[in-house]
């Protein structure tokens, strides 16, 4: 036998691996976010809006390089996880945010949200939400100023010369649900606006429809577990009417769909077992409704996710049934 034809390597089984890589997962998340992001750019169109999206992504990448350098780890831009954080972060920011605020937030998200815990896979919170939470506490006025954009004006809402307006959840908090319906004429018109996304709010959170499409894409591709968004949204839907809130409005308004499909499903800050994810989703829904009803903030998605993610080590203790250890035999 010709020895030049043989040069054997010995590795442990399995000898084949799935094609799915960290980078392919991250790209799929970006693809899933695109429809809602494009819709956001359309509803809140100005060159500035496009500008902050680009600045956010670039800042996140630069922060990733800085983080890797700070913690003496290899720079791994090629896993695209920083792109995901950059996109997610800008999608939860007011469309009129100044550039400097985006830069501060993106760096906070990557460094404080991820690198100080050890980088990818080690963050206990969703990094984008850490960035947003810090800005929310530091510059509350900037974070709650909603500029008027032509596409999002309700038919009977804001006066013609207004510069700023309130988000639907804000209107409900300050003036009640009937006032909001009045602005849109009918309940159906309000639902339609919330579903399509031509309402005030953060850049990428307004279109429930497009977020749902993106979320379903991730579920069908096996990238996220349907249990988290389903349990989260269902809990909000069921719990809201108990506190006198319209259930459909409660799930369509605010950042629930973005939070349920894209934020709460962040791998390293969500539970690793199937049963744990179910309870995690239910807890998220509960805390969100509590904040919306009893809290000072009109919206509760961000803080509920940050709070419940603290309990992930607990949810991780809800282990699956192990074969041959009694009970559970169905097949």
């Amino acid at each position: 036998m010709d020895d030049k034809m043989i040069d054997l390597v010995v590795t442990s089984s399995p000898h084949i691996r799935d094609k799915v890589k960290v980078s392919s997962i991250m790209w799929d998340v970006v693809i899933a976010l695109l429809p809602a992001l494009v819709a956001g750019l359309y509803f809140f169109w100005s060159l500035h809006t496009l500008g902050i999206v680009i600045v956010s992504i670039i800042s996140a990448e630069l922060a990733e390089i800085l983080g890797a350098w700070m913690f003496r780890k290899p720079v791994s831009l090629k896993d695209f996880s920083a792109v995901v954080t950059g996109v997610l972060f800008v999608m939860v920011m007011p469309p009129s945010s100044p550039y400097w605020l985006i830069i501060v937030g993106a760096f906070t998200a990557i460094i404080l949200g991820k690198w100080i815990f050890g980088g990818i896979g080690s963050n206990p919170f969703n990094p984008a939400l850490v960035g947003r939470a810090v800005l929310m506490i530091s510059w509350p006025a900037l974070m709650t100023t909603w500029k008027v954009f032509p596409h999002i004006i309700p038919p009977h809402g804001v006066s013609a010369n207004a510069v700023t307006m309130a988000t639907p959840l804000n209107v409900v908090k300050l003036h009640g649900f009937s006032q909001l319906i009045a602005e849109y004429g009918t309940k159906a018109a309000l639902y339609k606006a919330l579903f399509l996304g031509n309402v005030g709010g953060s850049l990428g959170e307004t279109s429930a429809l497009l977020l749902l499409i993106g979320g379903l894409y991730l579920i069908l591709k096996g990238i996220i577990d349907w249990k988290i968004p389903t349990a989260y949204i269902t809990t909000v839907f069921v719990l809201s009417p108990i506190f006198g809130r319209d259930p459909l409005f409660s799930i369509l308004a605010g950042g629930l769909f973005l939070g349920a499909f894209f934020m709460a499903t962040d791998y390293s800050s969500s539970p690793i077992t199937s049963k744990g994810r179910l309870w995690y989703g239910i807890s998220l829904g509960f805390i969100t409704v509590m904040i919306r009803v009893f809290g000072a903030y009109p919206e509760g998605v961000m803080f509920s996710i940050l709070i419940v993610q603290l309990f992930v080590p607990f949810f991780d203790k809800i282990l699956p049934h192990v074969y041959g250890h009694g009970k559970e035999v169905k097949s």
Binding site: I6, T11, S13, K21, H325
Partner: protein, 483 residues
Amino acid sequence: MKLFTFKPGGVHPDEMKITKDRPFVQMSVPAVVVVPLSQHIGAPNTPTVKVGDHVKIGQVIGSSTAFVSAPVHATVSGEVVAIEPRPHPLGKNVQAVVIKNDFKDEWFEPPQKRDLDSLTKDDILKIIREKGIVGMGGATFPTAVKLSPPKGKTIETLIANGAECEPYLTTDYRTMLEFTDKVIDGFLVEMKASGAKQGFIAVEDNKSDAAEKLENRLKERGVKNVEVVLVKTKYPQGGEKQLIKAVMGKEVPAGGLPLDVGVVVQNVGTLKAIAEAVLEDKPLIERGTTVSGTAIKNPGNYIIRIGTPITHIIEQTGGLTRKLRKLIFGGPMMGLAQSTVEVPVIKGTSGILFFGEEALEMAPQDESPCIRCSRCVDHCPIGLMPLLIDHAWRRKDMKLAESLNATDCIECGVCSYVCPSKRHLTENIRFAKQAIIKQRKIEAAKQAAFEKLKALREKQEKEAAEKAKSASPSKEKGGKENG
């Protein structure tokens, strides 16, 4: 037909069954065969021939008196030229009998036909043992031992394993298709030997033609208590534990055997070998094997003599198409990568896969950090937490690994397969498992030594006390007060 499957977990890799439509071809016999003395799980055999002996096909060349063992037979006629350690597919060098083929093809005993009705249960078990039959799906557990349950346990159900869930492999498929009656014969022999009342032949639904053929033949032959069941094409459907769960809806208790739930699972290739051993008096001297992969010119299914070196197989199938970088015995999910082409085909060789440079991309070795995606958890067919056991192993926290049931791992490879960070989960869990089992053995030995010492001391104390008692009873009283 109802489709059975196991839950949770499992994966469906590309099937790559490129040799599916290639019937078995008898491979030529090599000039020299290397027959390892150990080709089964259990006690190693000692040679029963010496260098210089002339042996004939079917002659026993190695055996053991241990219960868990299976003899090996000469697979060619010729002269024993060496008995020495040779490379073995399981990794280490193992004592092997090297026979130079005289190409006379002489049989030690002329084969004779037997009738199943004339044989008793014990006769069958004796023949299966003498003919060296072991599990041919890869586990190589001696079949006669598997069919002899310890006291208090009975075999109620037999499952023939025709799932063949590993990619590339088509040995079992071709066996079911081409040796349908032998598989059924073997099954009936086994039913008789085990006293089982019902039987299932489980076939994955990507081989439904084989299932249909089996079913038709069973009907034509009027076999009543054996049922062909289709199982979903999903890896590791052919894992013993998964197959039992899929077909019977039962779980084998942790650390136990299928026997604990009254079941024995047998690979269809083994059934063919059983039929040939019992009804045709033929020892296990050859087997059907899939030769496949990207680096071999003529992939196919071949019937190959045990002890045939890989070099011979490469030559006989037209050579390599590219530089050989990986040689796998078994399937790509659980098979063993070989370090040399000198290794011979053994009884458990269900497939031989040849890959070129692309093998390195098929299983990238560079790991990236765990992102906690929990794919490994969601796909584990046992319900383990592979990422956590992996963490425990890396920190050498064996107590934690043990509490996470690392020893229940079946090493199917699914966790490593699905990991997007390409972490070596299966490998590390295997290490953890071995470490735990080793530690348990040490603990057991310690405990045994302690018990022995304790018994010895008690005996000594008793003797001393008796001595003291007989010497002076008053002293004992004083001793008690002090104590």
